[in-house]
Every structure is written in structure tokens, then in C-alpha cells.
């Protein structure tokens, strides 16, 4: 078996324990203090430092069998704040991703029958981008996030347990405004079908009540620029609070209708198996959830002493009201500090102090949203939904800190 490398085994760039005249990194001026660097616009579109290459999106070995119908996970263990760098946004494709020419992309709106709307319509990107738009920060989480953990601790790091989660500022047109232009009969048309333009032509049913609230966006912007190809360039649906599969990418068509559509990804997948053998269909909301991202599984703390516990909280039902943190596996809790801004259906970053005395500890976080929903333990969750649901696992995550500094994924 593996000999866990303790804190001492890691070569750390500590400023501590300085001997003699001082640190050679200070005494011998580095090349960058004594020379001329690179010019502006050396990279007209910039990239992270070479020293940051370890933070990548990665597949979970064995989870999926083909790359075009797979997932790459976001490296939450190394991220700060609430905005996910677009280059590290998690990916979920069902038939591969494309870089679509936006000049040729079209959005069609039609009805399941002609009486659903006054006029079926076609819009170009030029036209959609002329409409009044809004920008909003929202998380997107795959319904299957943390799905591998329903039965037991299965994967080593927060990238794999929770990395089908990202958060961006999205810019686009409220779908409601587009439907109004088409003269939709909102009394009859209580559902829409959103359809993508990729090979899978992903389809999902979206509730009209959410569209009426103005929250659902036909989005082209993400973190200030256009959507990335992996995230649906040039057009995707943004369905705040709802699982990622409904945020249809490469959006080509909206159909309004009077019943749900029973598509493959709401009948054969993204259905939640309950203990009575039935599947829950059209489960959509991502319920209140949180996770400590540091310290987290696969990390080794370098030293005893002060550490900042940090993590993310979110709820598909609205704002995060509070987050509590435990360092003893859930016996005792104390409130974490929320970093602002705290926005609805958006990631919220939390922090808490921790002084490591060298003893074992178990880190947990527990979020509460503005509707009063409290994140459940695995026991709470399994009591109702057992452990075969695959989707919508929002249980409290436990990370065990061992005396040698290694942090491991456990369930208590």
C-alpha cells in the first residue's frame, strides 16, 4: 500500500527558518529585477503563468468511455472567489463540441402547433445582439455533480467530487422578451423545448414559469466575452438554479408547447432513481449545497498553525443565507464568513479560521439558503432517496485531515 507523504516530504517555499545572512532569493537579485522583460501585447490574448499548469480541467478515469460524450472537471481546489476562469469551466458534451460560425447561426422559435404563437420566427446573431440585454452572475452545476459519491467515498479530490460546477457572468436577452416578440400564447404554452445545433441536438423541457420571471436568458456573453466554444458559442440557454443539462448549448430552436417533451435526457438520463424503484422525472433544481475547497482531498498541509478554510456555497432556490463550518466531523459548527457579493443562484465564497495543532480533524461545510433549506448530511439524504439516484447529491462533504497533513475524502 501507499506510504502517505507527510508535510515534511514536500519541498516548500517557506520564508521561515532562515539561516545566516538571509534568503538567497532575496540576497541574489533575480533576473527579473536586473533585466528587461517582455513587451506589451506579446500575447494579444493572454494566458496563465507557466507555473499554473497544474490547474487544468481533467476527466475522471473510468467514468466515461468516449471523450465526446464525457465530462471534464473544473479544478476547484485551486480557484479563488466566485468567478470561474472561462478556460477552466467544466465541460459536458454529449456528441462533442464545435466552434460554430456565428454569422451562419440562427435561432428559430416555433410552436408545437400553430396556435401556440402568432408568428414562428428566425433570428440571426446580429439581431439577437441588438436586443436589450442583461448580465447576471450565476453558477452552473451538472445534475450529476458529486454523483460518484452517492454510495461511498469514490474519488480523491474536490475536482472530481464537485468539479462539474462553475460560475460566470452571463450576458444575453431574457427569453421572455423573445417569446413576446413572437406573440406566444402564455396561457396555453406552459413549457418550452430548447434545442441545440450540435450532433446530439440536445433537447430539454423548461418551465414557462421560470421564463416568465425573466431569469432565463438566451445568452451569448460569458465573463465579458463571447461564450467559449466548449460552453455553447455562439448561443446558449441560461437557466439559473437549474442543472446544467438544461442550459442548452449551440441553441438553435425554442419550441413552445402545452406539455413536457420527455426527451432522452429527461427520460432515460437525468432521472433520479428512488428507493421504491420509480424514477423522478424533470428534476431540475440544484438544491442548497456547499463544499470546502481547501483544505480538501489529495492536499497535504505544509505546516501546523493558522490555515484559512475556504469553500463555495450555492443554491438553485436563491441566495445563500449562511454557511457553517465544522472541523470535527459535524459534532460542532461555527459560522463562516461570506465574501460579498452574495447573489441569487450564484456561487458564494466562504472562509473560516482554523489553527491546526497537528491532530486529526474532519472538515465539513453546511449551507443554508434564503428559503430556509439546510444542506443535508448523507444520512438525511439517504433516508429519503437512498443511494442510487445518481443525480442531485447535495450532501455535506467530509474531508479528513490526518496527522501527517494529508487530507482524504471520507464519509461519516
Amino acid at each position: 500500500a501507499a506510504a502517505a507523504a507527510g508535510a515534511g516530504a514536500v519541498a516548500a517555499g517557506q520564508a521561515t527558518a532562515q539561516e545566516g545572512a538571509g534568503d538567497p532569493n532575496i540576497l541574489n537579485l533575480p533576473a527579473h529585477s536586473k533585466g528587461l522583460g517582455q513587451p506589451v501585447a506579446a500575447r494579444p490574448y493572454g494566458l496563465p503563468s507557466e507555473f499554473e499548469k497544474n490547474l487544468q480541467r481533467r476527466e475522471s478515469p473510468g467514468l466515461t468511455r468516449v471523450g465526446q460524450g464525457s465530462v471534464s472537471f473544473c479544478p476547484l481546489q485551486g480557484l479563488f472567489g466566485i468567478i470561474t476562469p472561462s478556460g477552466l469551466h467544466f465541460e459536458r458534451h454529449h456528441q462533442g463540441w464545435w466552434d460554430i460560425d456565428p454569422g451562419k447561426h440562427r435561432l428559430m422559435v416555433n410552436g408545437s402547433d400553430a396556435s401556440m404563437l402568432k408568428r414562428p420566427m428566425v433570428f440571426s446573431m446580429d439581431e439577437l445582439m441588438r436586443m436589450p440585454h442583461v448580465s447576471r452572475m450565476h453558477f452552473i452545476e451538472c445534475g450529476a455533480n458529486t454523483g460518484m459519491e452517492w454510495g461511498n467515498a469514490a474519488v480523491p479530490t474536490v475536482q472530481y467530487t464537485h468539479g462539474m460546477l462553475s460560475c460566470s457572468e452571463f450576458t444575453g436577452v431574457p427569453l421572455r422578451a423573445i417569446l413576446e416578440l413572437c406573440g406566444v400564447d402564455f396561457k396555453r404554452a406552459r413549457f418550452i423545448l430548447a434545442e441545440g445545433a450540435d450532433g446530439s441536438s440536445m433537447t430539454r423541457t423548461i418551465p414557462m414559469s421560470l421564463i416568465m420571471s425573466g431569469e432565463v436568458l438566451v445568452a451569448y456573453g460569458q465573463n465579458g466575452e463571447m461564450l467559449r466554444p466548449e460552453n455553447g458559442y455562439p448561443l446558449r440557454l441560461v437557466v439559473p438554479g437549474v442543472q446544467g443539462v438544461s442550459w442548452v448549448k449551440y441553441l438553435r430552436r425554442i419550441e413552445v408547447g402545452d406539455m413536457p417533451y420527455g426527451t432522452k435526457d429527461e427520460t432515460i438520463h437525468y432521472v433520479d432513481l428512488m428507493p421504491d424503484g420509480t424514477h423522478r422525472q424533470y428534476t431540475s433544481i440544484q438544491e442548497v449545497k456547499s463544499v470546502v475547497t481547501s483544505p480538501s482531498g489529495g492536499q497535504v498541509l505544509l505546516q501546523k498553525g493558522f490555515h484559512n478554510i475556504t469553500g463555495l456555497a450555492w443554491s438553485g432556490r436563491g441566495r445563500i443565507r449562511r454557511v457553517d463550518v465544522s472541523t470535527d466531523g459535524g459534532r460542532n459548527w461555527r459560522p463562516a464568513r461570506l465574501e460579498g457579493p452574495v447573489l441569487a443562484k450564484c456561487l458564494t465564497r466562504f472562509n473560516a479560521d482554523f489553527v491546526w495543532d497537528g491532530q486529526a480533524a474532519i472538515f465539513q461545510s453546511r449551507a443554508v439558503d434564503e428559503t430556509g433549506q439546510i444542506q443535508p448530511t448523507y444520512a438525511d439524504l439517504r433516508k429519503v432517496r437512498a443511494s442510487r439516484s445518481i443525480y442531485h447529491n447535495n450532501a455535506i462533504q467530509s474531508w479528513s485531515l490526518e496527522e501527517n497533513g494529508e487530507v482524504k475524502n471520507v464519509q461519516v
Partner: protein
């Protein structure tokens, strides 16, 4: 040049009229090209027909390489056929979905409750590497063949738009779906208002003892590449080494 007009405070009617000039009416041919969805009530289903035997030919030529001759393969995806019984077809509920049934896989036929779903999906997305290449008749045929592989249709069956409702009534899991939950963000499906799971707000002495019930086994810890390469090179921690040298 240079004189400024007065285009102040457009009335909302003026704005609406201007917005109405964006976009245009979709032509019937355009709608036909893109409106391919088939609903659970079979709205959208094109006329056509295809036999199990035609489906078999098609399957072996265009599907079996990925899904296996008997739709049993999990090489590229979960198995499509298997796990359903004649009893299930009667009840419309699949027994092997019950806890303890010891069914290794949840196959497509164990789960699918609406036949439209299968037809629609094959039509829009299969074969995976050549989606939307099948004719309507092809889709009827290959759907029939899949159902035959699941012992839901006999070998001499021909599936068509006129008998598809009867076949729907044979689907093993047709009664296996529920919308009685609080995870749909609206009232369109009925559902229930109150979420089914709630946590506890307890702040101290919340449990007598903390027992670790599941501990990540070493082989799982070490099955995701070298974790030391997946963590930043500075900060409060480093990634644990799980390369072959470290775990030797």
C-alpha cells in the same frame, strides 16, 4: 454633418415596433427542417414504417459496432437492451430497478417510459458519428429491432406511426416515472411544494461520536494520476504524490 437630432425617450410603443422589425417569420420549409422533435403524445412523429428485420440489417451495419450485436455492450455507453421481463411489460414497472435486484446495469429499456423518447433520440442523434442521417422508416425499423432485442416486440413486427401507441402500452417502465417532487421550478407539473430532504441547523454537540463510514480506498486515491501534478505549486498545501514512485 454634426447637427444632432432629437431621439429622446422613445415611447415603449415605438420601441416595441422597432424591436418587432428584428427577426422574421420562419418559412414552412425552415420549420420542417428543424422542428424534428417527437413528443410523448407522438406529436411531431412523421408517418412511416419499419420492420424488425429491416431494423436488424440496419443495426448490424450502423449500430452494432458501438452498442454490440445484442445492444448489450458498454464499450462506448451503457447497455441498451437487457434487464426487463414479460412481467414488467404487464405492470409497466421494471422489477430490476427495485433495491437488491442485483441488476448490474440500468439499461435503456429498463428506464425508458415513453417510446417517443427512443424514436426522437435515434432520429436526432444516431448513429453517433452521423446523426440525422437516418430516414423516418429507418428509425421505425431500428427502434423495432431494439424493442425486439428486449423481447418487447416479436421478430415479425413492423412498427409504424399507426401502431406506435399500442407499442407504447407495452413499455416495461411506462409507469415508472414520477413528478411528485419539489425539484421542478414551477407549478406546471403539479409536483410538491415542500422539498423532501432537510438538514439540521444544530450548532453544538450534534452527534455523540463521529464514525467514518466510508474511507477512500488507496487504489481509488491513486487512480486519478499524480495528484501532486493537479495542485498549485505554492499555497497552504501541495498535492499528495500518487505517482508510481510514491506508491511503490
Amino acid at each position: 454633418q454634426g447637427t444632432a437630432g432629437q431621439k429622446m425617450a422613445e415611447s415603449s410603443a415605438g420601441k416595441r415596433a422597432a424591436l418587432m422589425r428584428l427577426g422574421r417569420t420562419a418559412t414552412p420549409a425552415e420549420i420542417k427542417a428543424w422542428d424534428i422533435d417527437v413528443r410523448p403524445d407522438f406529436k411531431g412523429l412523421p408517418k412511416g414504417r419499419g420492420s424488425v428485420q429491416q431494423g436488424e440489417v440496419l443495426w448490424e451495419a450502423q449500430c452494432a459496432s458501438c452498442h454490440g450485436t445484442f445492444a448489450e455492450s458498454s464499450d462506448v455507453f451503457t447497455p441498451i437492451a437487457g434487464g426487463v421481463t414479460p412481467q414488467d411489460m404487464k405492470n409497466g414497472r421494471v422489477d430490476s430497478l427495485m433495491p437488491g435486484a442485483n441488476q448490474p446495469n440500468r439499461t435503456t429499456l429498463m428506464k425508458v417510459s415513453t417510446l417517443s423518447t427512443l424514436w426522437d433520440y435515434i432520429h436526432r442523434a444516431m448513429p453517433w458519428n452521423a446523426p440525422k442521417s437516418l430516414s423516418a422508416d429507418d428509425v421505425y425499423a431500428v427502434t423495432a429491432y431494439i424493442l425486439n432485442l428486449g423481447n418487447i416486440l416479436p421478430a415479425d413486427f413492423t412498427l409504424s406511426d399507426s401502431n406506435i401507441r399500442e407499442v407504447q402500452a407495452r413499455l416495461p417502465n411506462r409507469n415508472g416515472m414520477s413528478t411528485a417532487h419539489a425539484l421542478w421550478p414551477g407549478k406546471e407539473l403539479g409536483g410538491i411544494a415542500k422539498p423532501d430532504v432537510q438538514g439540521s441547523a444544530c450548532m453544538s454537540n450534534c452527534r455523540a461520536e463521529v464514525v467514518i463510514k466510508s474511507f477512500l480506498p488507496d487504489y481509488a486515491r491513486n487512480a486519478h494520476g499524480n495528484l501532486a501534478d493537479q495542485s498549485r505549486l505554492v499555497g497552504p498545501s501541495r498535492g499528495i504524490r500518487t505517482d508510481s514512485q510514491a506508491i511503490a
